[in-house]
């Protein structure tokens, strides 16, 4: 088991290394470098910068060095917590994204929790009461949840909130809490606002995992070991929870990293629509401005989250499924 975990750690680190290269390539991708963009912006404002000044800027930023050296410099900085400089905000990237990262993390993990609690409980209900009215409703909602893009759902909620309550359901804080430091009251205020983005972000995932849960559980309910346990006199509810539900949860836990990846994917766009103080709107703005160090750092952050999620899901699976522990290691 220990060697399995070590192997997982190594593969996670390799993935992270590859991701850092991809992120760096993305940073380099737009034609011209930041200095060109800076110059053209200044010239639009009527300020003319000489070529010498531009070259001096390049040397100062190290943009004249070969690519691999720039990568090494960048990744070396990243490892020491220096994510580079945001030219748009004139501040280090780590400062710009600081607080927003914790909000994104809260958002992603609340969504994950919401998704799994809802998907598992409705999935159990749907499978046990197959073809009941509740099951049919869950199935229909599931299909719609899968087909509706998150941002569209967010738009509809925004519109309905505006029309029925005359208020915006966007944002994560009441106005009086936006610019004050963290406190218990502010935290509680956030919890109150959290359900809208969590609902929007979790809808598709819940629909998907619900379908998986229902299908697997229906399969498991007919398995021999369930009948055998029933023949041992185990009461129905305990039987359901201990045997088939435990089995049916495995594939759902196995896709945890992948689910997190979906949530992280949807977060920027939903964050923008609901104007959340998360990393999403910042990321989109950075992409639109081609503020690439900021964008690159954010991609690195998103991917790292997913890699960690996948790692956690692997470990969880080893804990709940003994067959995983014995795989290969024995």
């Amino acid at each position: 088991m220990f060697s399995l975990i070590v192997r997982r750690i190594i593969s996670a680190l390799t993935t992270l290394f590859l991701i850092s290269i991809v992120a760096f390539i993305l940073i380099q991708l737009p034609p011209g470098d930041f200095v060109d963009a800076y110059a053209s912006k200044k010239s639009q404002g009527g300020v003319i910068i000489t070529k010498e000044q531009l070259d001096a800027m390049r040397i100062q930023m190290g943009l004249d060095k070969p690519l691999y050296q720039q990568y090494l410099k960048w990744i070396g900085g990243v490892l020491r917590g220096n994510l580079g400089y945001s030219w748009e905000y004139h501040r280090p990237v780590s400062e710009v994204i600081g607080e927003r990262i914790s909000i994104t993390l809260i958002l992603a993990f609340s969504t994950l929790l919401f998704t799994y609690v809802l998907a598992i409980s409705i999935g159990i209900y749907s499978a046990v009461r197959q073809y009941s009215i509740g099951d049919h409703i869950a199935t229909v909602l599931g299909y719609i949840g899968l087909a509706m893009p998150g941002f569209l759902f967010a738009l509809i909620l925004l519109y309905l909130g505006q029309k029925w309550f005359g208020m915006s359901v966007g944002g994560l804080f009441s106005p009086e809490f936006v610019d004050v430091p963290w406190s218990w009251a502010k935290f509680m205020d956030m919890i109150k606002h959290l359900w809208v983005p969590v609902l929007v972000l979790g809808m598709a995932g819940t629909a998907f995992q619900l379908r998986t849960m229902r299908a697997t559980l229906l399969d498991e309910l007919n398995k021999m070991y369930v009948t055998a346990a029933r023949a041992g006199g185990v009461p129905e509810f305990r039987l359901l929870m201990k045997y088939p539900v435990r089995m049916a949860i495995n594939p759902i836990v196995a896709t945890l990293g992948w689910e997190l990846s979906k949530i992280v994917s949807g977060a920027p766009i939903v964050g923008l629509v609901l104007s959340l103080p998360s990393t999403g709107p910042l990321f989109i703005q950075a992409l639109l401005d081609q503020d690439m160090y900021l964008a690159g750092a954010m991609i690195l952050f998103y991917c790292t989250m997913v890699v960690i999620g996948t790692f956690i899901s692997d470990i969880l699976l080893m804990i709940i499924d003994p067959r995983m522990r014995f795989k290969r290691s024995s």
Binding site: T15, L18, I19, V22, L26, L29, P30, P31, Y143, I144, L146, A147, M148, P149, F151, L152, L155, I156, L158, Y159, Q162, K163, S168, G170, G257, W258, S261, K262, V264, S265, G266, P268, I269, L272, V273, F283, I284, L287, L288, Q290, A295, M298, I299, Y302, C303, V306, V307, T310
Partner: protein
């Protein structure tokens, strides 16, 4: 036993199931799934819209109705305000009124003015597929404009724009799926047929791509495109980006199927007969799992359509003057715009219906792909 289950050959009664081809069996199974059949019908309509957008839409996507800006959908009536029935449907003319409280412009039906809706009428001229010049439209009005789904801020007809957007979005999906299919076959083919190091590398690549959150990657790639590129190039490059990441599902399927087929006798006999590798893969192995590929293609459609819609919605994908569903929804991005023009969300309905239809059809095809399983 009813007789459509049997067939007479040389006077012998033979069960049709026993001599049906794989595709026939698949079709019989698929036909039984009502939702899948309805979805196939809906997708057929989407296809017709995409092919004949110029004919179905009464105007061109840029045409403005200057007297009807940011205005709600017009209602088509059969009964006038006195309850009198008219065989030819009509719309009312409209007058602008300023709301005394909000000071916002509203449009009110002018019941004194009935404008009949004409079918197959002449209007703006267009060139269908760039070839056939015509000015016949499915429907239209003689006076003013008809805006079935309302208009946007500039007074452009939303119905027209959705028809054109359907063409773009569906074609992005179709071309994207074809690209993904080609990449998937090549990569999966190399991995599954040759195995060894090639397989190892390609598998790692697929795993890597699958472990990255796709949308941020798509966004970053799309953001890197120069702003001054012509629309057609942006369109093609966006498709390449989407399929360049979306091919992994197909690649895996092709690889695993090739792996299991590699040891089959018919492949060995083809190899002994001197067929080239490409021929063995394309002519002998591929047809035997084509039905699974079709299922995967159907299921990948919505992913590509959704991705394009999301990118364009963010302003990172397609941009005006090209209209796609995402480009249309871009106008509905903020609360004030939504509050003023909720009908802009009709575009969203098209997105949801298209994706639902693809999902249902995918389910139906998946069940049908194994017609003898049950």
């Amino acid at each position: 036993m009813t007789d459509d289950r049997h067939i007479n050959i040389n006077g012998k009664k033979i069960r049709r199931v026993d001599i049906a081809t794989h595709w026939q069996l698949m079709w019989w199974q698929f036909r039984k799934n009502k939702m899948a059949m309805i979805s196939a019908g809906i997708l057929g309509i989407f296809l017709i819209i995409s092919l004949f957008a110029e004919f179905i839409a009464p105007y061109s996507p840029g045409t403005r109705n200057p007297g009807y800006l940011a205005a709600p959908p017009m209602r088509v009536h059969f009964f006038d305000d006195r309850g009198k029935f008219h065989l030819r449907p009509f719309i009312y003319g409209s007058v602008q009124k300023r709301d005394p409280v909000t000071l916002r412009l509203n449009y009110v039906d002018d019941t004194s003015k009935r404008i009949p809706v004409r079918v197959l009428t002449r209007g703006e001229s267009y060139k269908l597929w760039g070839l056939f010049k015509s000015d016949v439209h499915l429907f239209g009005v003689d006076e003013g404009m008809i805006n079935l789904f309302g208009t946007d801020k500039l007074g452009r007809d939303l119905f027209t724009r959705i028809m054109y957007a359907t063409r773009i979005s569906i074609s992005v999906g179709a071309i994207g799926v074809i690209f993904a299919f080609i990449i998937g076959i090549i990569m999966g083919g190399i991995a599954g047929y040759f195995g060894g190091i090639a397989d190892e590398l390609i598998m790692r690549l697929m795993e890597f791509i699958r472990s990255i959150p796709t949308l941020p990657l798509w966004m970053a790639l799309a953001a890197a495109l120069p702003r001054d590129w012509p629309p057609l190039r942006v369109y093609l490059v966006i498709i390449v980006i989407l399929s360049g990441i979306g091919w992994t599902t197909l690649g895996r399927r092709v690889r695993s199927k090739l792996f299991s087929l590699r040891e089959e006798d018919f492949v060995l006999s083809a190899r002994l007969a001197g067929c080239s590798n490409a021929r063995i893969i394309l002519r002998h192995m591929l047809p035997s799992f084509m039905s699974y590929i079709i299922v995967d293609l159907t299921v990948s459609f919505p992913y590509i359509i959704l991705a394009e819609t999301s990118l364009s919605f963010l302003g990172l994908g397609l941009r005006e003057p090209v209209v796609s569903w995402g480009v249309l929804l871009y106008a509905a991005q903020n609360v004030p715009a939504l509050a003023q023009m909720p009908w802009l969300l009709i575009t969203g309905l098209f997105v949801v219906i298209a994706i639902l239809a693809f999902n249902f059809m995918g389910d139906g095809l998946r069940d049908a792909a194994d017609p003898l399983a049950k």
